[in-house]
Symmetry: C2
Subunit: 482 residues, 2 copies
């Protein structure tokens, strides 16, 4: 009897389990075309369920074309079960286009060494979740939801949640940025901001100038848009001005991408005077700037350094991308672009094609959190927390590794160079000892081998920092002997 | 004295107001290059603030290159204030690329008649926010945040929040869909789902087959990807099978896009038997299907009709896009794609380039809301609410307008045709009487004039429905006389 091996569970609706069982029996060839199913009354007795469940199952199967009913005769298996039986296999791996293939090729997440239990991972620079003030976040949620729950859970606008935009105007004004002829669009984090800009204002083959090394996600996106990356080397105080001018002069540069406030991976913060010179060079050569405000909030001393956008005044040469994702709550994916109103108007249409708008709930909570004052408290706590780790890491580096140089003043990572070492080979060796980090080549615009590495500190303990650096230094010694 | 007109407010930090004032004075030419600023102690007395505020202001101005300090002499205005003075104006309107221009061109939100106070708008089909169960939503939030606040506020994964994905497996299984060789990726709503698929699996010039009329956002995205839209006409029971087969046979169709469960704008629901035939036609001609599960949950009767994806069994010919945005909370932008694992793997890399991942907070709340049982209650309430409006609208249409036909069984809108009327001209006339609706041409794959209109009912009252339809019918009469 084909129903004797049907074991009912309590997780799924009964009718659904019956449906599944019958389909399976047909698929296995046990119930063949035009064979008759038991009457509903009969079957309900056999398996001990209500007759309604059996009726629903039969009805659904009929709607799906699996069975047919002849009045007064019963229910039968159709012979048009080609859909269930005949295979239809599309070779999707051959169907993706160039864009998708390039996205996969550039997706280092899939090729990198994955984290494993027991590892000391210096790879991550995502914030330590324990630093999040969940209680204040909860309050912010409850406040907003009480005030306008029905509104923020419904469709919003592509440009973003108005109170948050108003807040950001003031926020950027305080950084010295004139926002009079500019506007904001809220994005799903920094990544979407850069993606929107590159999608809208660059074409394949355009020259884009950037620091070398620079943020690996940005390199990925620039390459995805088939831009020609023109890297300018970095020294201890940031981008090399001579080389910058030379390259601005001698190349048709479409746009520049810069991270003056906190270069990733090096952690270098460019001082105000140099920023002024950089801005003026771009202005002189009429090359607009995409300024990545990455981690601007994390500087340990309280006095801000004006972003390039501040020098832009009422001009429109700087497109600024901001995000709190390294301090606040990256899981909610809220960032912004501040730019000339015409740019924002264009990005708004493109954004609407991407995903209509960024979560209004998330924008509203973030707004409430920012205005409550919880943000300032969190910045202070976060700075202190990372500063301790950073100072300790430098102490350990001096003790065990004595690198050629250590760069970066602030933040959640250090960037070091080790004389005569290929950092990829070092990573292989360290991996055997369960220590991993980010090798310099992933931040190099040409993915060239380097003697540098980035050590992310945000999510590991002091003990792990010391132990990890000790192991790296032992691996360096081994490599040097070989 | 240049500081006599400085009026301090209590909203902005003092140092920032001093900075602004000095910059303005320089911009106005009142303070010229190399002129000396008052000593910090002196200025603090003049304007009656702490000396620290003045020091901070001067320091920031120096960092920005606006002033320079000579030890023992004082602080002076630099002569390199070209950045503040010399204009730099980039003509951004000429810089956008073809993709951005096309996005703007296709962005009907910007060209449509906007809503004005006092209007009766049949335009919207976004849900009525008053139907949202904000209390249950709040509970869902509090539960999740208590359980894993630190986790869901931190970075997540491109594929999505695991418990939600597991839930969706079961959810789709209950609809009769075999998900064994398939997987999910969570997207920022339906729009991002379709955008990801088209970005990854189509090329400019590809033929895409779809119902005509169909969802205007989908038309926009297909045109943005420069696809060649091959429309198949719709009759009262959905897509015309003869025409479908003819077009599948005689065109190199790359992929089909179908909305069997709730065609937008018509509201037509295709029955199970016809779905089976549609599926098999696509299978026969080896053309994969993108199935838009739009509003599947809103059917008034409780028995589900299996989606095309259910007929696909263990095949991989159907890519299903789902969203709860018309029932639950569109403001949080959570949808999904269910497809062959290879497809999901590719979309994951593309998604990571777009925005890393969809808000983990929103996914977690939605998951909690769904599993709590609140979803089922909301579906029932929503169905009842819209059914009443729908029934009433049909009564009013019969009474006042007597259209050529009324289509659609369920949901938040009705679709009607009016003999001998150009719906654009009708809209113009109705607009003068403060009634607006969606004219049929925006859902036509060739944007051709039609005698059809979609009346969205979700956000207007019964009184407005009757009054609006009465006005439309008067405008129709006027047009017929002219």
């Amino acid at each position: 009897m084909i129903f004797s091996n049907l074991k009912l569970n309590s997780n799924e609706p009964i009718y659904y389990q019956i449906e599944k069982h019958i389909k399976k029996t047909i698929e296995n060839g046990i119930l063949s075309s035009n064979s008759k199913l038991p009457a509903t009354r009969e079957l309900s007795k056999i398996i001990g369920v209500s007759r309604n469940s059996v009726i629903t199952a039969y009805e659904n199967l009929e709607l799906e074309g699996v069975v047919y009913t002849i009045k007064g005769k019963g229910t039968f298996v159709t012979d048009k079960n080609i859909a269930l039986k005949g295979e239809w296999n599309i070779e999707w791996e051959k169907k993706s286009n160039e864009y998708a293939d390039l996205s996969c090729y550039l997706d280092t997440v899939k090729s990198e060494i994955p984290w494993e239990r027991g590892m000391i991972s210096f790879k991550s620079i995502s914030p330590d979740g324990e630093l999040f003030d969940v209680e204040e976040f909860k309050k912010a949620f409850l406040n907003r939801i009480a005030l306008e729950g029905h509104k923020i859970l419904n469709y919003g606008y592509a440009q973003g949640y108005k109170p948050l935009i108003d807040y950001l105007h003031l926020y950027m004004n305080k950084k010295g940025v004139n926002t009079d002829n500019k506007d904001f669009i809220i994005t799903n984090g920094f990544t979407e901001g850069l993606q929107l800009i590159l999608s809208s204002y660059t074409n394949a083959g355009d020259n884009i100038l950037c620091e070398n090394p620079t943020h690996n996600t940005s390199i990925k996106l620039m390459k995805l848009h088939k831009l020609n990356l023109i890297g300018v080397d970095i020294a201890e105080d940031g981008i090399d001005l001579m080389e910058l001018e030379y390259k601005l002069k001698n190349n048709q540069i479409k746009i520049g991408y810069l991270t003056p406030s906190y270069n990733n991976p090096t952690g270098i913060v460019i001082n105000g005077e140099k920023r002024f010179k950089i801005y003026n060079l771009f202005k002189q050569y009429n090359v607009p700037i995409i300024e990545d405000g990455f981690n601007e909030e994390l500087h340990y001393n309280n006095s801000h350094i004006a972003p390039l956008a501040a020098f832009d005044g009422k001009n429109n040469g700087v497109i600024y991308i901001g995000s709190f994702s390294k301090i606040l709550f990256p899981g909610i994916r809220v960032g912004w672009v501040l730019a000339d109103k015409k740019i924002v108007d264009t990005l708004e249409s493109v954004k609407r094609c991407y995903n209509i708008h960024t979560s209004f709930l998330d924008q509203a909570i973030l707004y409430e959190y920012l205005r409550s004052g919880a943000f300032e408290k969190q910045i202070k706590r976060t700075r202190k927390y990372y500063k301790e780790k950073h100072d300790f890491a430098i102490k350990c580096l001096d003790k065990y590794l004595k690198p050629k140089y250590i760069w970066g003043e602030y933040g959640m990572h250090v960037y070091i160079a080790i004389e005569g070492i290929d950092s990829r080979k070092l990573l292989q060796k360290c991996y055997e000892r369960k220590v991993i980090f980010a090798p310099g080549d992933i931040f190099d615009v040409n993915n060239e081998k380097t003697d540098t590495l980035r050590l992310g500190l945000s999510r590991i303990t002091m003990e792990e920092i010391e132990e990890g650096i000790r192991i790296i230094s032992e691996c360096v010694d081994e490599l040097k002997i070989q």
